[in-house]
Every structure is written in structure tokens, then in C-alpha cells.
Amino acid sequence: MSDIAARVKKIVVEHLGVEEEKVTPEASFIDDLGADSLDIVELVMAFEEEFGVEIPDDAAEKINTVGDANKYIEEHVS
């Protein structure tokens, strides 16, 4: 697992209070990890904070799975 993926996983575990094993790249925040729309806003803010990237609202709307988050961050982190 990349460094980014590991850090994303840690944030997801902390914010959603889910078990680490459940945080797979395929896992959907809403369908598999029990997040609601506000949890996703908060997660996106936490990713922005952790990685020093800005994730605009239209991009955030497309982040549905843990893998989506990893991919976006990998592509945008400087």
C-alpha cells in the first residue's frame, strides 16, 4: 500500500469509526462504511488538511470510494 493510501485509511478509520479491514479501495463511503453526506464533507476536509491539496466541490462529489480518494490525492498532491 502506498503512503497516501495508508494515510487515507487512517483518516477514514478515525472519522467514521469503522474497522480497518473494511477500508478497502473498493469500499463505498456511503454504502459500505456507513457515512452520510456530512461525513463525506468532513472526510474531504480532513484529506485537504492532511495532504495540503484543495478538493473542489465538483471533484468531491465524484469521490465515492476509498479508491477514488486515493486516486484523486495521488494525482493532485505536489
Binding site: L16, G17, L38, D39, E42, M45
Partner: protein, 420 residues
């Protein structure tokens, strides 16, 4: 008429995080007041408070027992305390698992005086330092006063009335009184009722200190600072926590064989129409609330055995005592009266509910809790039993609980034992 009884109790206070621990400590004369540890008090005038103790303390509060970790992160502490106290009360009443029909007839009336001030303070700093885009999406619903009732209803599936009183330091008493009326009026068969507060944060402490309401002269001896009816009293000491009761319609409680602690028989409400922080000098509002509660109860003033006073350890104590004397008699008709704020501080919006629970336990155990630090009783207290320093065993069949709040809002509750 539908009767309303109490069938469950829950407490989070500076003296413990479950009913029996709090009560044992209160009767033993322990103090929950100490130096503030929650934040750096540099520059504050008041350095002391009654904090709910951390989980590793002998009387500590473990939020993980009943509150989801995700919710803990999103909401202010007053909501966490409220959810836990409500859970305790439901467990005590044996009502954690309800069928769908019962859920429709079960509601919440759990309020707060101030609400999520610590979170408002932190998030405001965050906004100004880092911008609107860094404000938590959970900011609003994690601070709103009615979100104890909201969270509890979601956690336990309670679909009856969902209500939250905001009447400063009368909140807890009004919450119970209003909820009792909802049961009496057939809106519900079960109501969780109470109040919670947690404003031991820099803004909360500074605000009350600036209003000249807090004791700022005994920072070096915190356990002695809350001293209702004592000549040396000099302002209240802030406490925090929550008290929640399960109120239930009498026949409903009997039919399921519930343990019945007490019956809520009288509720009185009034306004001072005088000043935002000072009580009416003649205590007319307090007197009106007490008289209404006793009249509604069908009891005589002489039936009251114990009064849990509002008694904040301010000059207002004198006014309350004079009003109680006018209602119960110069010797209080033989009743004992104490202020448990001497031990736990003033829980503001939680006070009326926590103190109602103390009244109920006084009836259960036939013992009244003490007024700590009452070494030099004020003039006018000579013929009155203020239960100084140590708890007192005595007959307690009916109780009166007073709560008065900023804005000149008054609430009194009368409860009595239920014969089997």
C-alpha cells in the same frame, strides 16, 4: 386524570457518572469542585469549577459506554452527557428495547441552558483564523440545544414528542414539568426528561465571571467556595453534567411491573418581570412558582418534608429563603432544606433535573443531602433546618424542588412517594 411517575434515573455529575456513585458521594459530604483542568486559565478571574471527572478517576465518566465515538467527535460535551444520562435512565427503567407501538408513545424533553458554547468558541476561532471552508459540517447540529433529544430519539427509536426547553438555570425543572404535562395530556406514555450543561470553557467562565455571578475569591480553596446560606458566600461555582429521568404514565408503569420511584404531582411556573440577572428582591416570582406547584399537587404546604433549594451561593439565597418561609412557614413547617450546589456546583440547565433526582433519592432512602460549607449561617436562617455539613436521616414523603434562571424564569416541582 392520567398520573405521572418516575421509573428511571440517570446522572453525570462532578461527583460521579452513575446514580449510585453520585448519591453515595453526595450523602458522604464529598465535594466535586476543584481547580479547572479543562483549559489554561491564565488571565481568568475564576479558576475553579465542578468538572465531570475523566474516565481514569474513581468517579470518572467514560463517554464510550453509551455514546458512539463518531458522535462524540461531532457534538459538544453537553450532548454527550445528555445521551449518556438518558441511556442510564432507560436502562434503569428497563425500557431500552421497545416495540414499535410503544416507540410512537415515547418521547424526549431534554434541554440545556446555554448549549454548545465550547464548540461555538473553538469553531469561531477556526473561522477567523482559517476561513469559512474549514468550519466543521457538524458545527450547527453538534451545538444545538435540542440535539440531546434528537440524538436520544435516534439512538432508541423514540417517535413521540421531541422537545427541548431553554430557560437558563430553570431548564431541567421546566423540562420535567413540561414532559409530565405531555404524559398527562395523553401526548405520550413515556418521556425522557431532563437537562444538561457543559460550559467550563474560557468563554463560558469569563462570561459568568464578568457578569459578577461566579465566586472568584476562593480560588485557593475550591471545595469551600460553594457555600449557600453561609455569610461568607461570594458567588456560584460552575458545574457541568446532566440529569435525565424516565417519566411514565402510572397505569403503563404498573402494567409492566416497573419500579416506581415517585410521582410528579405539582408543577409551578412564573416570571419575575424584574431584571435579567437579579431576582425580584421580594422573591415574588419564586413564591408564585412554589405556591402554584403545591396547589396543583393537592398537598398541603405542611406535607413538604424536603426542599432542594435553588441556593446558588449568591445573595439571591436570602431572597429564596424568605420566599420559602412565606410558603411553608417560618420554620418551613418542619421541612429540611438544603442546597446540593454546595457539593457539585451549579449545573445551570442541568441543575433542576439533577436536583430533582436528588429529591427522589432522598425519598427512596429517607435521608436528605447536606449543605456543605455552611459554617456561619446567614441571618434569618435561625429557625430553619438547612442540613449543614452532614446528611440527615429523616422521614421524606414529599419534596419541593426550586429552580430559577436568568431572565427571571422560575420553576418548582412537587413530587411524592407512591404507596404500593
Amino acid at each position: 386524570m392520567r398520573r405521572v411517575v418516575v421509573t428511571g434515573l440517570g446522572l453525570v455529575t462532578p461527583l460521579g457518572a452513575d446514580v449510585e456513585t453520585v448519591w453515595k458521594n453526595l450523602i458522604a459530604g464529598e465535594s466535586g469542585i476543584g481547580t479547572i483542568t479543562r483549559f489554561d486559565t491564565e488571565g481568568q478571574k475564576c479558576l475553579i469549577a465542578g468538572e465531570v471527572k475523566p474516565a481514569d478517576h474513581e468517579w470518572g465518566f467514560d463517554p464510550n459506554k453509551r455514546v458512539d465515538s463518531k458522535i462524540q467527535r461531532q457534538v459538544d460535551p453537553f450532548i454527550v452527557y445528555g445521551i449518556d444520562a438518558a441511556g442510564q435512565a432507560l436502562e434503569d427503567a428497563g425500557l431500552t428495547e421497545l416495540d414499535e407501538e410503544t416507540k410512537l408513545r415515547a418521547g424526549c424533553s431534554i434541554g440545556s441552558g446555554i448549549g454548545g458554547l465550547p464548540g461555538i468558541e473553538l469553531e469561531s476561532v477556526n473561522l477567523h483564523k482559517r476561513g469559512p471552508g474549514r468550519v466543521s459540517p457538524h458545527f450547527v447540529h453538534g451545538r444545538l440545544i435540542n440535539l440531546i433529544s434528537g440524538q436520544v430519539s435516534i439512538a432508541y427509536g423514540l417517535m413521540g414528542p421531541n422537545h427541548a426547553v431553554v430557560t437558563a438555570c430553570s431548564t431541567g425543572a421546566h423540562s420535567i414539568g413540561d414532559a409530565a404535562r405531555m404524559i398527562r395530556d395523553d401526548d405520550a406514555d413515556i418521556m425522557l426528561a431532563g437537562g444538561a450543561e457543559s460550559t467550563i470553557n474560557p468563554l463560558g467562565v469569563a462570561g459568568f465571571a464578568q457578569a459578577r455571578a461566579l465566586n472568584c475569591s476562593m480560588n485557593d480553596r475550591p471545595t469551600e467556595a460553594s457555600r449557600p446560606y453561609d455569610k461568607d458566600r461570594d458567588g456560584f461555582v460552575m458545574g457541568e453534567g446532566a440529569g435525565v429521568v424516565v417519566l411514565e404514565e402510572y397505569e403503563h408503569a404498573k402494567a409492566r411491573g416497573a419500579k416506581i420511584y415517585a410521582e410528579v404531582v405539582g408543577y409551578g411556573l412564573s416570571g419575575d418581570a424584574y431584571h435579567v440577572t437579579a431576582p425580584h428582591p421580594e422573591g415574588k416570582g419564586a413564591e408564585n412558582a412554589m405556591r402554584m406547584a403545591i396547589r396543583k399537587s393537592g398537598l398541603d404546604a405542611s406535607d413538604i418534608d424536603y426542599v432542594n433549594a435553588h441556593g446558588t451561593s449568591t445573595m439571591a439565597d436570602t431572597i429564596e429563603l424568605a420566599a420559602v418561609k412565606r410558603v411553608l412557614g417560618d420554620d418551613l413547617g418542619g421541612a429540611s432544606m438544603s442546597s446540593t450546589k454546595s457539593a457539585i456546583g451549579h449545573l445551570l440547565g442541568g441543575a433542576g433535573a439533577v436536583e430533582s433526582i436528588f429529591c427522589i433519592l432522598a425519598m427512596r432512602d429517607q435521608i436528605v443531602p447536606p449543605t456543605l460549607n455552611l459554617h456561619n449561617p446567614d441571618e434569618g436562617t435561625e429557625d430553619v433546618d438547612l442540613v449543614p455539613l452532614t446528611a440527615k436521616k429523616r422521614e421524606v414523603n414529599a419534596v419541593l424542588n426550586n429552580s430559577f434562571g436568568f431572565g427571571g424564569t422560575n420553576a418548582s416541582l412537587v413530587m411524592k412517594r407512591v404507596e404500593d
